[in-house]
Symmetry: C2
Subunit: 329 residues, 2 copies
């Protein structure tokens, strides 16, 4: 009786539906009791093979990236992950081995981030593999961190390092760049790995809730994303490009070619968090971030005005970025 | 500063984000306070051009069908619609006029069903238009109607009429069928319209909550869907094929070719609800359904056993259906 779709779901996805409200994927819908005194935070991202990932990327990494893009959005809002739903459009020639690896990747991250599958829909497509993740998180009442709360005088901080994924993508597309940029294999692999598998900053959720005035995840390039945050907050910003945190690998590449600063500041796929807080909040926040083992760096300050954020070079002059963010459009 | 994606969202989707928690689509996520004392019902469906709809179907009808498929799932669970998120993968040659019509369709149904847009993601695809809808609904605590509650002795009912969409799809694919089946244009158009635009039975939500022991939406064919409900409930069923409600158009087609009963019982896209309740509940339920102006029909009874539901012909013999449900796999 079971259709191909039913069998595929039973084999690859039922094991991920560990929450009782998922009803073992045996129903039309999942049932979910939101945590008392909390609000829900809802976000969604779609990934298309050939647009957001390479069709020959490892299927487990594709699955993990799909979840982590959404986990990063939740973390940037100060929200604890609750669970996800997924739609998956698959070409008819998809291999079972691919699905098995994909499901392994989902399983690994669902476990790591306590992020169970609530439901989904699987369908055929004459096009490329297309994955949509719909993520639910929760915040205590009125505690979601919006993009709109930045105030003049606030400091601007980012998590982790910026630009790795954009450089990693460039190497993934044209492996010669590793040599051009004088990178040893360890550095080159680091950048490619950062493109393949982002690190959502879920461990910072409570510290961000307590201290951040505004936040967003950096997915389309720091320059463009900070510009969006400033625009919605009705402020501007000054950032010292030299303060933007780089991995040793990205620093090496930049050393070989200073023009890569533009790729670093405007490339996509960082999945770090850019956020603002009053200078008084910074020391306590830094202590909490250190306890959570997440690097955070002060890159500049919020200023009054409605002009675009300025990225200043070593001489204090405003850099001119030919594009500020990455867009698939 | 705004990217192509930002402009597209501002123009076509921001007007749909009427709920304050959608933050006018200016943030990474939406914030949502679930109604007190209620549980959330979560469901998702994906539609791919060329698989779930014809690429040249009117874009507003495609949008409305995408929402209605999900509204039908919510209604079948006794859940009130709260809102939706959407991911949209678009080919690069998509026309603005298409997007405008698509957004008009979303708008019309978001308004009709009080079902606002909470957020989404828009991306390019080298493949066909692919739409994923994530729907949220709510039920009073412990009131979601599962597939698993059917008991021997319960009656089996369905809303509306069955088989129209499957016949409409056949005509959409091969217009000659209208003549073969001796259908006048009104009848033929009725069937095609039923394929294009399902009628989610949202008005039955409260009556179903109060009376149904089990329910699911009929999207992949009555025979196969009833079999799924029975399987999860651990019961079997006997249905009189003659009792399955048909529209005048479907009845005409069946009159011209009795073998169409199989298409009617096993075709997809009905988006009606099949549900069970004790015989004692039926009269009150019928009265409430009449007040909600939704036709409901008793088609048979739940019986003990774990064999497949039997569809009986006029002579009381079990019909043999070569396939019980529609699958894109």
């Amino acid at each position: 009786m079971a259709s191909g779709e039913d069998k595929l779901i039973a084999r690859f996805f039922k094991p991920l539906a560990t929450h009782p409200g998922a009803l073992a994927l045996n129903d039309d819908a999942a049932i979910f009791e939101p945590p008392a005194g909390h609000e829900l935070v809802l976000t969604t991202d779609a990934l298309v093979a050939g647009v957001h990932f390479f069709p020959d990327d490892p299927a487990d990494a594709i699955a993990r990236k799909a979840l982590r893009m959404n986990l990063s959005d939740l973390a940037a809002k100060g929200a604890k992950p609750l669970g996800f739903l997924m739609t998956l459009a698959l070409p008819s020639d998809i291999a079972e081995a691919w699905l098995e690896k994909f499901s392994d990747g989902l399983w690994a991250d669902a476990k790591e981030f306590n992020f169970p599958l609530f439901g989904g829909d699987t369908t055929r497509t004459p096009g490329p593999v297309t994955i949509s993740i719909f993520a639910l998180g929760s915040v205590p009442h009125d505690k979601m961190i919006k993009r709109s709360g930045a105030k003049p005088g606030d400091r601007i901080l980012v998590t982790g390092t910026i630009g790795d994924a954009a450089l990693g993508l460039a190497i993934r597309k044209q492996p010669d760049f590793a040599q051009t940029w004088k990178l040893d294999p360890v550095s080159s692999n680091h950048l490619v790995a950062r493109y393949l598998l982002p690190q959502p900053r879920v461990r910072l959720v409570e510290a961000l809730q307590a201290h951040a005035s505004a936040a967003m995840d950096v997915s389309d390039g720091l320059a463009g994303d900070l510009a969006k945050l400033c625009h919605v907050s009705g402020v501007s910003a000054e950032v010292s490009a030299a303060n933007v945190p780089l991995s040793p690998a990205a620093a090496k590449a930049l050393g070989s070619n200073p023009r890569l600063m533009e790729t670093i500041l405007s490339g996509g796929d960082d999945y770090e968090i850019v956020f603002t807080m009053t200078p008084d909040d910074v020391p306590t926040f830094r202590a909490r971030a250190a306890m959570a083992d997440v690097a955070v760096t002060d890159i500049g300050g919020v200023v009054a005005g409605d002009d675009e954020p300025r990225f200043l070079d070593a001489a204090g002059g405003a850099m001119s970025l030919s594009r500020k963010s990455f867009s698939h459009f």
